[in-house]
């Protein structure tokens, strides 16, 4: 129980730090960024938006920093993030983000689950046949994959499959001329548009699952109980899955719980490259347009998702592995 409370406390602390960073950063920068926006859109911003901006960036001088800070925290606590300034002028930030979330969850979420399942499976096989083709091919490939910028892989895939072969679409999440609706043609179109970004994401994230699974599994394969299972003459697949893999999968499972948090903000550059209108694409739109309220809300959303996932994975570890409970 103590472990749970400690993790909960840590979660609250990091959340507070993220909120405070959001508040402090614009104030640390040379020249107040919000002043620039208000100057740029003189009269074009509703009084309500100006009020939120004041609290967020300290533009109005009638409040001291502490009072601004508390009114900012109050706004966040009641989910009042204000309205977008430039991306979709006047629209509420919450509304814009809610429109983007399903696209990201669909694309990145499905791909994350797929990468986890495939990667863990390959990792099990690689460790089981240590020194085999799969195992000797993997480390150099992994070294290369960790150093390729995600977005560049996306660009190269666009060149090959989109521009040269003209096989797959690579712009937006569906063909502009279609009307979104729940019909087969539209869903097929969306799926077709998701292939390239999903594949980019898959090949860039699968390596870590393979590697951790392989490495932990190699350790468990050397354990006495595995040797015992072999001595008993159990079938190979039972030793591999029930004896070795089952005991080696814990790091991958907690890693998976954590990676679910990165679904929301984990594919910023891939969404950008494919102009896929998810959360990451929206963040870069907001950055490009100096739309600070939208940008700040998105940063908070991405951070909270990650923090929640870390909390959950900590709790999952505590439930699955009694040793951590004792240590905590």
């Amino acid at each position: 129980m103590r472990f749970v409370f400690r993790r909960l406390g840590f979660f609250l602390l990091t959340l507070w730090v993220a909120l405070t960073l959001n508040f402090v950063l614009p104030r640390l920068m040379p020249g107040n960024p919000a002043l620039a926006i208000i100057g740029k859109f003189r009269g074009g911003i509703s009084p309500q938006a100006v009020k939120v901006l004041e609290a967020q960036f300290g533009v109005g001088t009638h409040q001291n920093v502490l009072a601004q800070y508390f009114s900012y925290l109050g706004n966040v606590a009641t989910l009042r993030f204000g309205v977008s300034l430039t991306t979709q002028p006047g629209a509420s930030v919450g509304r814009i983000i809610l429109d983007a979330i399903p696209w990201t969850l669909g694309l990145v979420g499905v791909t994350t689950v797929l990468a986890f399942i495939l990667g863990t499976g390959i990792g099990i096989l690689a460790a089981w046949r240590r020194g085999g083709y799969l195992d000797s091919l993997m480390p150099p490939v992994f070294v290369i994959m960790t150093v390729i910028p995600y977005f560049w892989i996306g660009l190269v895939l666009i060149l090959i499959f989109g521009v040269k072969l003209k096989l797959l679409p690579y712009f937006f999440s569906y063909t502009y001329t279609l009307t979104p609706g729940f019909n087969l043609a539209f869903i097929g179109n969306v799926a077709e548009h998701a292939i390239l970004p999903a594949f980019t994401l898959l090949i860039t994230t699968i390596g870590i699952w393979i590697l951790t699974m392989r490495n932990t599994m190699i350790t468990t394969l050397a354990e006495d109980y595995v040797r015992m299972a072999r001595a008993k003459g159990l079938p190979a697949h039972r030793i591999m899955l029930d004896y070795a893999a089952r005991n080696a999968i814990l790091p991958n499972l907690t890693g998976f719980a954590m990676s679910l948090g990165f679904v929301v903000g984990g594919a910023i550059l891939i969404e950008e490259v494919f102009n896929y209108q998810g959360v990451g694409y929206l963040l870069l739109q907001a950055v490009g347009n100096d739309d600070y309220p939208l940008m700040q809300a998105l940063f908070l959303l991405i951070t909270v998702a990650v923090l929640l996932a870390i909390l959950l994975s900590d709790l999952a570890t505590a439930i699955l592995d009694p040793r951590t409970r004792a240590a905590g």
């Binding site: 046949r129 070294v143 290369i144 991405i302 990650v306």
Partner: protein, 344 residues
């Protein structure tokens, strides 16, 4: 031409940093010369014996040379828009020209320096911060340790890339120095944690107790007794931080958060993407800078793996493993696997 040369101080810090022995020789002040030379020779042997290390060092040396003397290799001013636009590769323009009429080869060559500066700058700075915080936490213990630990952990879990994007957007075009400062300030936490646990494991060793009994000051103990024992970890930390700096800075420049007037691989990608390089028949504009990023990143990553392997024999590629033999009994394709093993 003279104005295009590097200020010697700025680039000299780069190449001299990665080898650890300089730091390792430090504590032996008296006989340090011999020990330093010996560890240098040992280092040389380790590098030539390990294929990953050889490739990594060769790549890095190549890039450092290009970064130091870009003028020797590319004679064009990378920014000058003086040529016909969007030319294909030719004898005059090895990679063709951009859609602004700049020589692409010159851009790639001159673009090496800012990337290297960022890699080495962040590598050194973040490692130093990580070392100070990690060692201080472990050595001081108690409340100081608790506080530093919480700071490290908090920074560790906040998603870095979105944070860098936010900071970058307030800064409006971060030049090389700002980029180094921002990335180093946010990315030291991972290595700080590693260094702390290493320092913790040293805390009750005899040589530290001996130093305490001798009545040495804390600063002396930290700098002369603890830090030299962590040389290999520090090198690994430097390489990790440098690799992330290359990837982070290129990504930030690609989305337009760098200084667009600095010629570097990331900004090349930014301009290429903005001018639809693929659709206008200039794929090299995107492919070549990307490959450069990959090659430089691979140099750092390979060196990191190599240092791991040199320091930890368990990680070396398997030649003949008991585990494999045992596994071979249960699987039919034994002969095939044996042949593969010999090549590995």
């Amino acid at each position: 031409m003279a104005t295009l040369r590097t200020p010697p101080g700025a680039s000299d810090t780069g190449p001299s940093q990665p080898p650890g022995p300089a730091a390792a020789g430090l504590p032996l002040a008296g006989g340090g010369g011999i020990a330093g030379a010996r560890s240098l020779r040992r280092m040389g042997r380790a590098i030539t014996a390990n294929r990953k290390a050889t490739v990594g060092v060769a790549l890095l040396v190549l890039f450092i040379f290009v970064g130091l003397f870009p003028g020797l290799i590319a004679h064009d001013n990378p920014q000058a828009e003086i040529y016909p636009r969007s030319l294909g590769p030719s004898a005059q323009h090895w990679l063709g020209t951009t859609s602004f009429g700049q020589d692409m080869f010159a851009q790639v060559i001159w673009g090496t320096r800012p990337v290297l500066l960022i890699a080495f700058g962040v590598g050194i700075l973040a490692t130093v911060v990580a070392m100070l915080i990690g060692v201080a936490a472990a050595y001081l213990g108690g409340a100081a340790d608790g506080t530093l630990n919480v700071i490290t952990d908090v920074l560790l879990v906040i998603p870095l890339f979105p944070l860098l994007i936010i900071i970058g957007s307030y800064l409006h075009g971060a030049g090389t120095a700002v980029m180094i400062a921002v990335i180093a300030a946010t990315s030291w936490s991972y290595t700080a944690r590693q260094l702390r646990s290493q320092a913790l494991s040293l805390r009750s060793r005899d040589f530290l107790n001996a130093a305490k009994v001798r009545g040495e000051r804390r600063l002396y103990v930290i700098c002369v007794e603890i830090i030299p024992t962590m040389t290999s970890l520090l090198v690994a930390a430097f390489l990790t931080n440098a690799l992330y700096a290359v990837l982070f800075s290129s990504s930030l420049q690609f989305i337009g958060l760098g200084d667009p007037n600095v010629t570097s691989w990331g900004t090349m990608l930014y301009w290429a993407e903005n001018n639809e390089a693929f659709q206008t028949g200039l794929p090299l504009w995107i492919i070549v800078p990307g490959l450069c990023i990959v090659a430089l990143g691979a140099a750092f990553a390979l060196l990191n793996y190599a240092f791991d392997e040199i320091g930890n024999p368990a990680l070396r590629p398997v030649k003949s493993m008991r585990v494999t033999k045992a596994g071979a009994v249960t699987t039919p394709d034994r002969h095939r696997r044996l042949r593969v093993k010999r090549t590995g």
